[in-house]
């Protein structure tokens, strides 16, 4: 099968959905001529023009607010917030309009909006351009949370997100784009349903749930642990809301051991929620404490030596696994 990059997967998904449905349009900072700050939108401006690929002022509040107004009146906006770190700016629009309007109106409005945004450390971008903020959105009812780890997933999930009638936030890990990560993606059309985890590697001793970049580090750790005779099952939830907890619980029933690895700051992360679910709903299957491998509770530091220490890696995961097997 042909291989494409993570960024190309995103471009293709947008391209196909825009071709398919004239109500889909993009708006954001430097999405036009620039093609997205990391090139995720290359070529779309030329193909669809300035009406459907709209450069905005630096006005994240207006971007999300206008998306709400456009969606409530029949469009399917795909706004971009360049880095997820900037989601604090339109947070009120997300917290009080986007995620609540349908409910407050008694089910009368439909808000088919996909907010695309970059997450993650690893390129020396420091504290305000490197965060992983998915947990904040997990905690706000009314928005689905998508966090792909491969070009295949990125494309299939983005297409489903755009077709979904509810608000979605879609996180792109910048290192997967910059590396660039390549992966197999069929020429034929496909979609991936939101809410379906993917078992990225089967195993029987320990369940590791990981997201985005951490999926790759978990797989690398799993390969090393295999050499030591420890068999790891790596589960990529792909969407945190809806969360496919059944796949996780089924795996824990098999392995009896769970480690959750995400790049977020540990306290209050998506890893906490997954741990809490398993401690509540699959307690009897557990043979060992639930471990979390996360970034520390600090901002992301700049210096490469500090940033490396900050980011969870294979060694951290191997250590956590070793403590419970």
């Amino acid at each position: 099968m042909r291989e494409i990059t993570f960024a190309q997967a995103i471009t293709e998904a947008l391209d196909e959905e825009m071709a398919r449905d004239p109500s889909v349009f993009i708006m954001g900072e430097d999405v036009g001529v620039y093609g997205g700050i990391l090139g995720q939108l290359a070529g779309l401006f030329d193909k669809y023009g300035p009406d459907r690929v709209r450069d905005t002022p630096i006005s994240e509040t207006a971007i999300v607010g206008a998306a709400v107004g456009a969606a409530a009146t029949g469009m399917r906006p795909v706004p971009e917030i360049m880095f997820c770190d900037f989601l604090g700016v339109p947070m009120d629009e997300i917290l009080n309009q986007l995620t609540k309007m349908r409910y407050m109106f008694g089910g009368k409005a439909k808000l088919p909006i996909v907010i695309r945004t970059l997450i993650g450390a690893g390129i020396g971008a420091a504290a305000q351009h490197s965060q992983c903020l998915e947990a904040l959105f997990m905690h706000i009812p009314g928005i689905k949370v998508v966090i792909p780890s491969t070009p295949y997933d990125a494309k299939g999930l983005l297409k489903s997100a755009i077709r979904d009638d509810s608000p979605v936030i879609y996180f792109e890990h910048k290192l997967l784009i910059v590396m660039p990560l390549k992966g197999e993606v069929p020429e034929e059309e496909y979609t991936i349903p939101l809410g379906k985890a993917d078992i990225k590697r089967e195993g029987k001793d320990v369940t590791v749930v990981a997201t985005a970049l951490m999926v790759h580090r978990a797989l690398a750790a799993a390969a090393k642990l295999q050499e030591k005779g420890v068999s790891i099952e790596v589960i990529d939830p792909r969407t945190l809301v809806p969360l496919d907890k059944q796949t996780i619980i089924d795996s824990v029933k098999k392995t009896g051991r769970l480690v959750i690895m995400t790049e977020e700051c540990k306290t209050g992360s998506s890893a906490a929620e997954i741990a809490a679910i398993v401690a509540e709903e699959a307690f009897d299957s557990l043979d060992a404490p639930i471990k979390r491998v996360n970034a520390p509770d600090t901002p992301v530091p700049f210096s490469p030596v500090l940033e490396k220490f900050y980011m969870p890696d294979e060694e951290n995961l191997i250590k956590a696994v070793t403590e419970i097997v």
């Binding site: 009406d51 206008a66 107004g69 407050m104 109106f105």
Partner: protein, 319 residues
């Protein structure tokens, strides 16, 4: 004066309907049958009615926490509004929204809103949608003097002006943001001056004169429909009641309130209509009775409507 008689009478109807609706809300709130935060529009009816008189059913409005007037002016049904205030299943939001969240998307009402200024970018978005879909729809966005200091005001109007969107921004300057007078919350006298910041027209209007509002907004709506972009219209007005029901209003004097009550937009309009020979005192009484009757029926509808089932709490989060 080129406004048709029916139009004028219809506007008068709507103003009275709003007033009677809200007077009833005062009583029901005092009686404890309506709970929560209830912000009344009494004294400001000319703004909503004058503005919305320029719109059709498929045009849009965004409203505020002080929304009853806008909703009624745009054609909202008083019985479904009252039922919502009573927290009933037959309310516009099935009891989920309450006063601050009433909406009727089918007739372009994109919701009252508990977040000050939130409607400003939303209205821009609705206008963008109209533009992208190639319709002649416009959006009117209502907001207060206090809202003109929010993030949404600046980013929303800038976007609308940069993109020449068909939206009219109607600022209801009632001189206070809760307890804070305009002179303390901003260093300008006319909010319309802020139009300069976006290269759009800014207009000051007597917000207690429904015809003045109607005409100023009418011009702006026409401009918007011509594709020339947004206008900022400031309507100077005053709320007769406290910020919300229960507000002890320590921040203003009785004299000030009395002064403004003399400028009551409904009596003024009535006087004018009588003077113009368009309305007789008797007809005015008739309209008043009619509206009272409608509101009594609305209360009865609300009273007799069923409460939602508790489990309905869990519905309507996702589409």
């Amino acid at each position: 004066m080129a406004i048709e008689k029916e139009k004028l009478i219809d506007m008068y109807h709507r103003m009275v309907r709003i007033r009677r609706f809200e007077e009833k809300v005062v009583d029901e709130f005092a009686a404890g049958r309506i709970v929560g935060f209830v912000h009344l529009y009494i004294g400001e009816e000319a703004v909503a009615v004058g503005a919305c008189a320029n719109l059709g059913d498929d045009d849009y409005i965004t409203s505020t926490h002080r929304g009853h007037g806008h909703l009624i002016a745009k054609g909202g049904k008083t019985e479904r509004m009252m039922a919502e205030l009573f927290g009933k299943k037959t309310g516009y939001c099935k009891g989920k929204g309450g006063s601050m969240h009433i909406a009727d998307v089918d007739i372009g009402i994109l919701g009252a809103n508990g977040i000050v200024g939130a409607g400003i970018p939303i209205a821009a978005g609705a206008a963008l949608s109209a533009k992208l879909r190639g319709t002649a729809q416009v959006a009117i966005c209502f907001f207060g003097d206090g809202a003109s200091n929010t993030t949404r005001f600046h980013e929303g109007i800038n976007l609308a002006s940069a993109w020449k969107l068909p939206v009219v921004y109607v600022c209801e300057n009632n001189m206070y943001a809760i307890s804070v007078p305009q002179s303390k919350h901003q260093n300008i006298a006319d909010i319309a001056d802020r139009a300069t910041a976006y290269g759009i027209p800014g207009v000051v209007v007597d917000g207690n004169d429904v015809i003045a509002v109607y005409e100023a907004v009418g011009e702006a709506v026409a401009r918007a429909r011509r594709g020339e972009g947004p206008t900022l219209i400031e309507c100077k007005t005053y709320r007769h009641r406290g910020h919300f029901e229960g507000d002890p209003t320590p921040y203003r004097t009785k004299e000030e309130v009395d002064e403004w009550k003399k400028k009551d937009p409904i009596s003024r309009f009535k006087g004018k209509l009588i003077e113009m020979g368009v309305l007789a005192e008797k007809e005015a009484d008739e309209i008043d009775r009619e509206m009272k009757g409608e509101i009594d029926k609305a209360v009865k509808f609300a009273e007799e409507s069923p409460l939602p089932e508790p489990e309905e709490t869990l519905e309507d989060v996702y589409a």
